[in-house]
Symmetry: D2
Subunit: 352 residues, 4 copies
């Protein structure tokens, strides 16, 4: 495929962790040219000033967010802004013919009332929002193919739904028994300086936050309900791990049929994810380490049943900034453009 | 109290992490003299050779494990050996009049068949085992007072039972819904060199192990059943955190009475632990960080209810090597000797 | 000694890391009552709101910085404020009869022009500054005894001067060959949220900063010159270690007499620090780990000579927040009050 | 270039960290097929048993080390064995026509007596050793082109020599003033379980080792002497950083001409490394973070002069397992084969 077939891409919110992952991945993507880096506070800075390690590879300056200019230069736009901003920027971009992939929560919800009640923001872009597709390719690959607007999933929902989906879709569990105990590296908190994310505070410590009220709960429930065909409520508890990258979700649910054993579930999961190149189901008795997924777009799944309690326990590991964010967005881009789904997406971590 | 009233104490298995915590704590305990350090592989080494940072404080050499010699010199003996060794050493020591506090699993079980089936070791010390008291002072303070043999709890059971006990004792939850998602620093794996505990392997990673089959499960179930008054089964999943010290247990259960709210439970927990100086119940909406407990014998508890799911979620943080091991043993010693329960036990961490 | 003999102490700047160490140490000091916590941004907050883990131990509220009120209630005042503020607060406190221990750089310099040129602040408190004593007890114990104002040393200078002093004092090295390659945990950067101190940025990374221009250079040189009896210039390079606490200084210098061997220097160092209870000189061939000093007021020194190059290499490890800051201030207090130098100061770390 | 032009490669010592980096890099190298994984203790295991995260990518079993079989199947062989083994394996492989790249110390020394005295091993392969080229492409690119046997540099020497070479080659410093204060992540210690490399021991700590006697000293001196044209002695001190990957070398030396300023040296370094695609010289006042190099074959250099002391300070950051080991070996392979030097070698890290 020739140089001329590359598409022009803009990244808005390029100075954050989502942004720098997108820059990193798209810089090496064979069919993409990054032509616009946009930001608010960082406008005017060269990218090398913000991320000196990329000085040799990226020779761009952050520009102000000007939808007119963006649309005139970009075929595809990634939005990596804080929640509540994309819903103002995406509509004009779409109207001007851009494809938009939004990494915030703004376009993840079918029901904007759910969004508004959890994110404290009223919305007037209902028509645009209706066209958005939830960007989890393993579940919505077909819809993504023809979408113009992708609401990329949150990091916790990605890890959790990868673990839960086969169980819900096939009706194998009692949905109301679902408990998701999730743990994330601190990069999930973003690059803004917050005291509790300082190394001096977070290193050598582990704790929960947002117990019974984290905003990823309704997102997980929306997709879970879609898969189950009826409303599902889950218990979701996030924790911070003293490390940079990675999420592990430990998912518990009671099996509808206590006769199911691990081997059965391995078969079911393998079938469910047969066409999903980034899902790696671990053999009998192996559980994933988050580090195995670091720097890749992979999701590792480990599955266990407990005959003493009739429960299934699924362990799901991803890199929160790649499969949980920027990599998944690129995966969606590949699908939207009709390219190989794995194009430009790493599958081998650097271990250790 | 005069110098002459100090008791003479031996620590067997002094070269491991349990051992060095005991040495550290007892070295500063006002009523204890360490007179015997025993070990197998390390016999003949000075303590400063094993732990150079203590060279200025501890001038003792590890001696072979000779029960005759130990009993002749020690009134109290702490055993910090691998599982399956204490059951050979404790009986002669007790027969010779020593009080024994065992940090291994050997004397935690009322039912030795349970022990044998989970620890693959047959036992012939039934008479001795029958006299052992489970060394969790917050639950068995009275029994500990008059005990000669203490089976000190495991680190995970300590954290988990502190969270669960008020709920089970008062019949507030449906016991079979109990899920314990526990996380520990790697020092819980001991000081023996194992590949998966290398910094290069464990740092920057998080994963589960022993899913549905960890040996702390029957221990938690034994005490839970005792508290509930009937057999209780729990789901217990341990994980390794990339840090040295600390355990967080996240405990989930369905409330029998969905009308109970957080404030009710805070009241119930405060009453339950009223006479327990090491338990700190956090006010509304605060959840513990493991680091707060590091270097102390404290257990911090945070409590939440979820009206959406009728569940209670309790978060319990301890230092796995102190409240989860050596500190708790010293707490038991204090109670056995009729001393102030907090004697020689730190209550203020060095933060950050 | 009776309760009535306790002194009343205030801590200004109590919300920072220096402050919380002082609170932690003085809370357990047998002859001190903390009666005033002062702060600027944090005034009005309870201490438990800032540091929840101390909620059970410290029942005080941060008050505004009012020198009148402070002096009326406190015999001794610790100042833990950013550089450039103590020089406005100390003079009125001293005038009203308080003893003052300042943890900032304001009173470390004999020559205020040196201070002004490195800290960009003009000073008008020359008379007060002249009375200040540099609070490194191992070098200035006699002067500290009768001082009313202590300029507590910086963390890097403490570690570095402990390593260098015997060499300079005895004229054993060529001073101009001195190179100090120092490394610190990130808590040295304080509790204010700065991007480069986020766990996500600092974890898993190591780098230098302030090369050839760090403000601790003139401080080290002032004391080095005082010891050598002539002006000394040193090369000082600080680095950030991905961990919370601890400093290691690696100090290099060319020996004046190449015939000196390690054993000679061990003897010289032992004699030099004979009356210094917190200095621990490691035997032949042992080098300190920063973790050995964590949570203690100790300084571990390891010494090596290289006959191939005629250099001496000294390794010095401290806890930057204790011996490098708050603990050293308490050590000075003990000396000023005529108490045992080690009172209330921990000497045993929790290892691992 | 067609599939048929790929070369067949063997990796001996594939289970260690050097081995797994080679597997990782060569698996994605467009002109290489891995056809043989060899090992001693690990022979018979599948690679997925040793490194489960690679189960989906590498379908090979470790075979015994049989030079006959290796030579019959491989054109190029990488040796990643402990020191002292390659010197028995390389000669027969070379005799049978293989090109050999050895990651151990065995072929780094021109003078085998130096090797023998530092590595305690007598050698009988003098003829083979004479043909070996030191595999630091930035210095010996021409010699590597035609070599059959490469002695790949140690990790510390790589970082240190990248910093030192322009200074030595151009005679800009007084060589005897050179001090190299080097710091490494713990993966440099390999995958064998050693107590001091446990996370519980190494995390949260920093210390020196091998002071004045580390085996990388003669290696650095050999190349330094070669560059300077006369014998050079350096002071080299390694330290362990509590992190997995990365080396920072802080190099000090006195300038021959004190008039030289940073800008001069930036110009000189840029010229020296003009044809070296992996060397990135940072602009004025920027110093490298090791994390910038992680997962890449890059070496970042930061340069400072100190007019107060007439010294130059150079900071050099690499990934110890890539540019410091496996990546550099692949870089040599590319040069030996006449391929693009950067082929298959990552240049963009995943930050943070």
């Amino acid at each position: 495929m020739g140089e001329s077939e590359k598409i022009s891409v803009g990244i808005i919110g390029a100075s954050g962790y989502g942004g720098v992952q997108l820059v990193r991945l798209l810089q090496e993507h064979p069919l993409v040219d990054i032509v616009y880096l946009g930001g608010k506070g960082s406008a005017g800075q060269t990218y090398a000033e913000i991320y000196p390690h990329l000085g040799h590879a990226v020779d761009l300056t952050i520009e102000p967010i000007d939808t007119e200019a963006i649309a005139s230069r970009c075929q595809v736009v990634f939005l990596g802004l804080p929640n509540g901003l994309a819903c103002d920027i995406a509509p004009p971009l779409i109207a001007k013919g851009c494809k938009v992939l939004d990494l915030s929560a703004d376009y993840r919800f079918k029901n904007l009332e759910t969004y508004s009640s959890w994110y404290n923001k009223d919305r007037s872009d209902l028509d645009t929002a209706k066209t958005a597709v939830y960007g989890l390719p393993e579940l919505y690959r077909e819809e993504i193919k023809s979408a113009s607007l992708i609401g990329c999933p949150g990091c916790y929902p990605t890890a959790s739904l990868m673990a839960l989906s086969p169980l819900l879709k096939q009706g194998l569990i009692l949905p109301e028994t679902t408990i998701i105990d999730a743990k994330s590296g601190t990069s999930g908190g973003g690059r803004q300086a917050k005291t509790h994310l300082l190394l001096a505070e977070a290193e050598g410590s582990f704790g929960a936050y947002g117990v019974a009220k984290h905003r990823h709960t309704p997102e997980i429930e929306q997709i879970s309900s879609d898969l189950a065909g009826h409303e599902v409520k889950v218990q979701f508890t996030p924790h911070l791990i003293p490390m940079v990258r990675g999420i592990l979700s430990t998912v518990y649910a009671t099996l509808r049929d206590p006769g199911l054993v691990r081997e059965d579930l391995l078969t079911i999961y393998s079938a469910f994810y047969r066409s999903s190149p980034f899902v790696k189901i671990l053999p009998n008795g192996l559980y994933p380490q988050t580090k195995w997924a670091c720097g890749t777009n992979l999701c590792y799944l480990g599955i266990e049943t407990d005959p003493r309690t009739d429960r299934v326990i699924v362990l799901s590991a991803i890199d929160n900034l790649i499969k949980g964010q920027a990599g998944q967005a690129v995966q969606c881009l590949n699908i939207m453009m009709g390219w190989e789904e794995t194009l430009g997406l790493p599958q081998l971590c650097f271990y250790p």
